[in-house]
């Protein structure tokens, strides 16, 4: 994940500011979350480096329901629960799973040239920009909860592990 260190820094900084700007957390809450975030960054524990997760689960300063409502109201995007989506390997999309962890985003489907992406970082402009440039195709964005995202990423990891094991068996 080290190659996405800069993206993690930028996306989290933007997300933090966006949450404060929308009144979803206070500046003081964000300062506390930033401290935890920087500890994770400096320890190179990049999977743990998420301001969103710190605010939701460590400091409990952010109400995820309010965040999702704000997201729908402001961006007009749909919400999706990845637990009810049949996830597949990302390898056909030529997408690195570490990038998905780094940006809390999963491309879960593709219809013709259009990708369907679920994200927890819709309010973070660097995340949207990074994926738009990477895929260079039309994208339909969906919002999702942090728990749904984490479980989705774990499931894809399991799918990739199974693929790797099958490939090893064939060899």
């Amino acid at each position: 994940m080290q190659e996405y260190r800069a993206l993690i820094l930028r996306s989290n900084r933007f997300l933090g500011s966006a949450l404060v700007d929308r009144g979803l957390v206070s500046v003081n809450d964000l300062e506390t979350a930033n401290e935890t975030f920087m500890e994770a960054i400096q320890a190179s524990e990049l999977k743990r480096a998420s301001i969103l997760n710190t605010l939701l689960f460590d400091t409990k300063a952010l109400d995820e329901q309010a965040l999702l409502e704000c997201l729908v109201e402001e961006s007009g995007i749909g919400l999706i629960d990845l637990n009810h989506v049949e996830l597949r390997s990302l390898r056909p999309f030529d997408v690195d799973l570490s990038l998905c962890w780094a940006s809390s985003t999963i491309p879960f489907d593709k219809i013709e040239k259009t990708y369907m992406l679920a994200t927890c970082y819709q309010f973070s402009a660097p995340v949207l920009k990074y994926w738009e440039e990477l895929l260079d195709s039309p994208i339909i964005w969906y919002g999702t909860s942090s728990a749904s995202m984490t479980r989705g990423l774990e499931r894809i990891e399991e799918i990739h592990d199974a693929e790797d094991a099958a490939a090893a068996d064939e060899e």
């Binding site: 260190r5 820094l9 930028r10 989290n12 900084r13 933090g16 500011s17 404060v20 500046v27 003081n28 964000l30 300062e31 930033n34 975030f37 920087m38 960054i41 400096q42």
Partner: protein, 432 residues
Amino acid sequence: MPYSVLILDDDADFNSLLTDIFEQADYAVTSLTNPLEAIDVFRETEYDLVVADHKMPEMTGSEFMRHCKQIRSKVPVIMVSGYLDNDTIRELIREGVGGVFLKPLNIFSLLERTSSLIEEAKKLESAPHKEQGEESEREIDAKLGFSFRSFPCKSTASTSLANRLYSLRHFRSTLTLIGETGMHYRSICEDIRGFYEGNAEHFIYLSPGTFDHAQVISLIEQAKEQGAERVTCVLLDFENMSESEKKLAATLPKGDTDIQDLGVTLRAIYCVSHDLDSLFEEGLIDEHLYILMGTAEVPIPPLRDCKADIGFMAQQMVVDIAREKGRPQVPRFEKAARDLFREQSWEGNYEALRNTVQKIMNTNLGDVLTLNIVKAAMHGNAGASPRARFESHLTSRQVDLVRAAAILFGGDRPKVASFFAANVNAVASKLQ
């Protein structure tokens, strides 16, 4: 104390009559018959009203009035004459005469008009000068709900800035002000300081090349001695600080062990001229600072986004400079001049505006700053020689250097004056 009246009439008899009339009405009267002498006397003495004959051998009453208006424009003038045609009367009124009385005089009308003119002048003198759209500082404060001086808050951008800063006044450890070059961060931070009452909040200002760990500790100790419970360190021109200064600045919001031992809560305000992503990409701030400074970012609007403010800022600068120079009268920009200010893009922002106003004040001593004066100053800026531009740059840096030295010497003005081989008053003036 009676109001004072200067009477000028070359006709000795009529002069005597006017003098009697005003003295009977309890005015303190100075009677003169020579307009040139009257001008000298008027220049040297404060009067509440002038009464002048229109027809005199040395000069007309109209010419005399123009001299008076140049010296003190607000003193009302009444003209008396044996005969004046309607065109002349209209002309006199257009030029600012407060009343025209023909002989033989209606004494009661004359005294009534005198009284009302003096009252009007006194009211104008005590009330702040207003033009259309101009509000007093108090009115602006009432509108905002708090005091804010670094921008006049006539524009949406500056009003939003004031409200955002006020809403963030309880920031716990870090605030970042991001603006273009030439911004007046110090004034903005002084406004933030003004959001708090009492003596428990202290702000210390740190510029590149002016501080180290020991000096910061010394400044915090001094603040504590003066009653500070919380100290906010303002890091001016942060991106141009040395690596060691940046490293120290990064620890300020929490404080290292030595600083924590002082028992004072610390915060930091970082003032930068580029957005954080640019600074990070250029390696001017590290990851830690990037996140730390990103906690609460406040963009400072460039002057071109606050056009409605510019003329008023320029006028406020005139007030400040007049005060610094000890000028008894504060000159005012005429409206066309203020309009010209707002039409400029002011790439150098506040600093460029201040330099222009300073230049105007250095070369003009009149009470009214006209469109042509402003045009000349601006033209001079655009076409200035490299030497003149360098001089202007050094002048603008002068205040920063004096302030830096003041920090270095712990605010000891005689030491600062000695350092610059200047006198204490000059140093005090710069520090103001």
